[in-house]
């Protein structure tokens, strides 16, 4: 029998019992929709994280002060400001290091006209912007000369700019920081949330020296909160870590039995962990969703077995008029497969619709890829063949004489 005819026969058989076909299909529809939805949400989260990682800057190390002990009492990192801008300059000279960006930060009150706003103030060097991947939206950032002469200039993050200036163009305006006038020279392109969920754009950047001497004050001359270190390449990260540790121990005059009074952390490694976690999450969600597909498959097997029993006589007649076992097998297998594929199609559409609703309501990024849909379809087809085969085999192995006698 020609395949096309078998397909149309299978289609007709499914149409004859629409309620049953529909209910069986529902298992597939829900399963596929769940898989597509979960995968798309998972992928969205992953892309979100990798965007954040890209915005952080590449092959970065962070050096934070602290982990000091005094009289047997051990302090947490950052509790003592042991790092200085001088350390940063010395580290920048290392062969494995591309650039360093010493940072001081604190909270300050900002005002412009009637608006005032309390947010993070960050004292940085011009290198900071390239090291941590900030892009300039308008104006231009301050220079090394500004750093040397403690000029009062400010670079605004997107959110801080909007909060203080609203619709006005901030470039060239005077902003008061802790009641001192600063000239706004630049606004940065928005970056969004950091990995820890903080809004990176609600931030005002001023020259490091200005921050140290005029706004935040010094614990001791030149002290900084932390520094970012960019290594020359991703492969040099570990090398850089070792070199920095050696150099800082020497500069801080630590004897062999003393612990480090600073900590070097690999930011990129942290980011990789975060993105791996997101990836695992996506697959776990997908795997849970695919359990419902499996359950749907069992439902199909169940119904097909009932159908084979009900149609024993029909199978006998078909065999008597010349249907080979293969023809009977194909007919029942195709019926199961058709339920799966039609259910799969509906499920994919439902899943895409659901993903769209999630993206609208929860404001979450969702991603739907062709490979995802392909995966769902492959899975569904495999389920159809796997769970449809046994009932079809059973139909095909009926003996013609006995099937004809069946009432």
């Amino acid at each position: 029998m020609k395949l096309l005819i078998i397909i149309s026969e299978a289609f007709r058989a499914l149409q004859l019992n629409r309620l049953r076909t529909g209910l069986t299909m529902l298992g597939m529809i829900i399963g596929v929709a769940a898989v597509v939805l979960m995968l798309s949400i998972g992928q969205g989260a992953q892309i979100n994280i990798s965007n954040t990682i890209a915005s952080m800057g590449s092959h970065l190390l962070i050096v934070v002060p602290g982990a000091t002990s005094s009289g047997g009492l051990r302090f947490g990192s950052g509790s003592v400001k042991t790092l200085t801008a001088g350390d940063a300059q010395a580290i920048a000279e290392l062969s494995s290091v591309e650039a360093t960006a010493p940072v001081v930060s604190g909270i300050a009150q900002f005002s412009y006209g009637a608006n005032n706003w309390s947010t993070t103030i960050t004292g940085v060097t011009p290198d900071y912007f390239s090291v941590s991947n900030w892009e300039v939206e308008s104006g231009s950032i301050f220079s090394e000369a500004d750093l040397r002469s403690n000029t009062r200039v400010a670079v605004l993050g997107k959110v801080a700019a909007e909060n203080l200036f609203g619709m006005e163009d901030p470039i060239g305006r005077i902003l008061r920081i802790a009641n001192r006038p600063f000239l706004v020279v630049s606004v940065l392109v928005a970056k969004g949330q950091s990995l820890s969920g903080r809004d990176q754009d609600d931030n005002v950047f001023i020259p490091l020296t200005t921050a140290q001497r005029q706004i935040l004050g010094n614990q001791f001359p030149g002290s900084i909160n932390y520094m970012l270190v960019q290594s020359t390449s991703a492969d040099m990260m570990e090398e850089a870590e070792a070199e920095i540790t050696r150099l800082l121990r020497q500069r801080h005059r630590l004897s062999d039995r003393m612990e480090n009074d600073f900590t070097v952390r690999n930011l990129t490694a942290l980011a990789v962990v975060a993105s791996t976690t997101a990836k695992i999450m996506a697959w776990v969600l997908g795997a849970i969703a695919s359990i419902s597909l499996l359950v749907g498959g069992i439902g199909i097997m169940n119904i097909m077995l009932v159908s084979v029993t009900e149609r024993t006589r029909e199978i006998g007649i078909r065999m008597a008029i010349g249907a080979s076992r293969r023809a009977i097998l194909t007919q029942f297998l195709l019926e199961a497969l058709m339920i799966c594929i039609l259910g799969g199609l509906t499920g994919v559409m439902l899943g895409i619709g659901g993903a769209w609703i999630v993206s609208q309501i929860a404001d979450m990024p969702v991603v739907i890829t062709l490979s995802m849909i392909g995966l769902a379809f492959t899975f569904v087809t495999m389920i159809g063949i796997f769970f449809g085969f046994y009932p079809a085999k059973r139909a095909a192995s009926l003996k013609p004489v006995e099937a004809l006698r069946y009432e």
Binding site: M1, K2, I5, R12, A13, L16, R313, E314, G316, I317, R318, M319, A320, I321, G322, A323, S324, R325, R326, A327, K399, P400, V401, L404
Partner: protein
């Protein structure tokens, strides 16, 4: 080559030492052997019209099933149109049923979800013909059996006689040499029965199709030219018209009554 492998040419059917044994309760330690057919020898020539008769349990249905390639013998040989079909594989048997044999059953056995036309066309589809061509041929046959205006009716919309005509059309559609009719009039009234038998007679005499009929009614059997009587799995009588009248047929259902 032994003599048994030589295939006789003129005969349509040649059955040699055919036995059928059923193993009952084979899952227990001592299966019960139940032999239904004992050393059946039979030769049937093209264009014969044969009635097989016998009481219930005489083995006539089993013989029919084996002759129809619906079942296989336990031992012995069966040549159909020169080919030994006794031990073919399931798919080869399906092919033989499709090409060489047409079936007509007591219960009509039409596919109830198909129209008369599609029922008749179904064997052609299994033979690999496309749908349009098969329907064209099915239509011709339905017109020949007088059902030209019922082509799109479903079996449950047709009378018993009409359904049996559809079944006969279906049996004829692949132009088989042999038609096996298992009590074809068992569910029909007397008048319709004779109409159906007249149709068989006509097919036999006009087209030379061999017809093997299983029945227990003498007046239905009388349409045949040759009579084979089975008892307890053995042929006890095989002959022409005269033999039918000499030993009156007795149904077990009548004789077994107290």
């Amino acid at each position: 080559m032994s003599g048994k492998d030589r295939t006789p040419t003129q005969t349509l059917i040649r059955v040699e030492d055919l036995c059928k044994v059923y193993q009952l309760g084979s899952h227990t330690n001592q299966p019960i052997r139940h032999q239904v057919l004992f050393d059946i020898n039979l030769e049937i020539y093209p264009a014969e019209f044969i009635a097989i008769m016998g009481q219930s349990g005489s083995g006539k249905s089993t013989l029919m099933n084996i002759l129809g390639c619906l079942d296989t013998p336990t031992s012995g040989n069966y040549w159909l149109a020169g080919r030994n079909v006794a031990y073919l594989s399931n798919d080869e048997l399906a092919h033989v049923r499709n090409r060489n044999i047409g079936f007509v059953f007591q219960g009509f056995n039409l596919l109830r979800r198909m129209t008369a036309l599609d029922n008749v066309a179904a064997p052609l589809l299994y033979a690999g013909m496309n749908r349009n061509e098969s329907r064209k041929r099915a239509l011709t046959l339905l017109q020949q059996t007088g059902l030209g205006q019922f082509t799109l009716h479903y079996p449950n919309q047709l009378s018993g006689g009409q359904q049996q005509r559809v079944a006969i059309s279906r049996a004829l559609v692949n132009q088989p040499q042999l038609i096996l009719a298992d009590e074809p009039t068992g569910n029909l009234d007397t008048q319709t029965s004779h109409e159906i038998m007249a149709l068989f007679k006509q097919l036999n005499s006009d087209q030379g199709i061999t017809i093997i009929l299983v029945t227990h009614e003498d007046d239905i059997a009388s349409y045949a030219n040759r009579f084979i009587r089975l008892k307890d799995g053995r042929i006890i009588q095989d002959g022409g018209k005269g033999t039918l009248l000499s030993i009156p047929f007795q149904d077990k259902r009548i004789t077994s009554q107290p």
